[in-house]
Symmetry: C2
Subunit: 213 residues, 2 copies
């Protein structure tokens, strides 16, 4: 099993048994998350940007406008970043307030910004990102033209250090609380896709793509 | 309408029309979000912690163990923090790759850590937090005992600067693309509660609370 090293930055100190370092688990959480938060230091203070992203091999990719202040700042200074994602899997309702919890899978990574200059890599990042958001979409749509490529910046972040933190399962109460007449259990949470809403400007006669129906 | 000031840290520079500064909107996004990411600077680098939180008036509250390294660090040094939340509302499928987007509501706030010492405020923060995760839950459960209170640290963060960024509605394509035979629209997303799962150790004869059924 391939694992990320446990470092002073990624070692889970609190509830260490929830810490996970294997690459396959970390990658699967990153691949399921539809957005991340990207944190960096500006003038001595922490900033965060919520943004879409995708993963290819051991890199995370983020794209934006060449006019984006923070994208330019990250690219120009090859800033160090901390990128995090969280998936909420359930509310854990214990008998005691103290043992209430949530089931979740989170990943925190440390990395450094690099601007993607290679055209093939740029194209591939956009394709993977688009198909991550909606599998099957890329082959269906009008691809970027020269002007659009010029307006798009892609940054990549090699995952240098990473850890996941995971909680699963029912509540764990104190022994003496199991006799209390209090309901306990888990309310699972799921980010679900609802029925699509066609663009009001959609021309008649265009059918729903198979990947949506 | 009460608004947060537009500052050098919170002014939305990219797609400025998506920037929102009114307090009611910002508070409603914070109240709907089940977790936030809390970013701060440690040894010159940005760190992030995903964590549950709640809002009371103009403060965000986070709780954790008194043994938590980062909680103690925030409290001891009254660190500056950036706290962010994001709600994903939909995938925006345009005719062109370039105009693909997401509907979302995000908030980024800037603040400073303060340890809550007042017992009533501490109690209230835990009550509001618990009822935010599961409305109605607090009155049902065993309240913290003296030892549990001793083990719990609560931090508060006055929202000093904040901005929201919001996208809604259908895709906006380039004029000439509306004639393409490509389906376009929105796939709404919703974090949904699934059917509850009773604790396998639940004693017989305990009925589901009304707020869950």
């Amino acid at each position: 099993m391939k694992t990320y090293p446990v470092t002073s930055k990624t070692g889970i100190t609190r509830l260490a048994k929830r810490g996970v370092y294997d690459e396959a688990t970390i990658h699967s959480i990153l691949d399921e998350a539809l957005f991340c938060t990207l944190a960096f230091v500006r003038e001595g203070e922490a900033f965060q940007i919520p943004t879409g992203f995708c993963r290819i091999d051991n890199y995370l990719y983020v794209h934006g406008s060449v006019g984006s202040f923070y994208m330019r700042e990250l690219a120009a200074n090859k800033l160090k970043v901390c990128i995090a994602v969280t998936l909420m899997d359930g509310l854990v309702l214990a008998r005691s307030a103290f043992h209430h919890s949530v089931n979740y899978r989170s990943v925190v990574t440390f990395s450094q910004a690099e601007k993607v200059e290679d055209r093939d890599e740029l194209y591939r990042a956009l394709e993977v990102f688009t198909n991550k958001m909606q599998p099957g979409r890329w082959d269906d749509i009008r691809k970027p033209n020269a002007g659009e490529w010029k307006a798009t910046m892609v940054l990549k972040f090699k995952i240098e250090e990473a850890s996941a933190k995971i909680r699963t399962g029912p509540p764990i109460d104190d022994m003496e609380d199991y006799d209390l007449p209090i309901w306990a259990g888990v309310v699972p949470l799921k980010l679900e896709r609802q029925t699509y809403e066609a663009d009001p400007k959609l021309k008649e006669g265009i059918s729903i793509p198979s990947y949506l129906s």
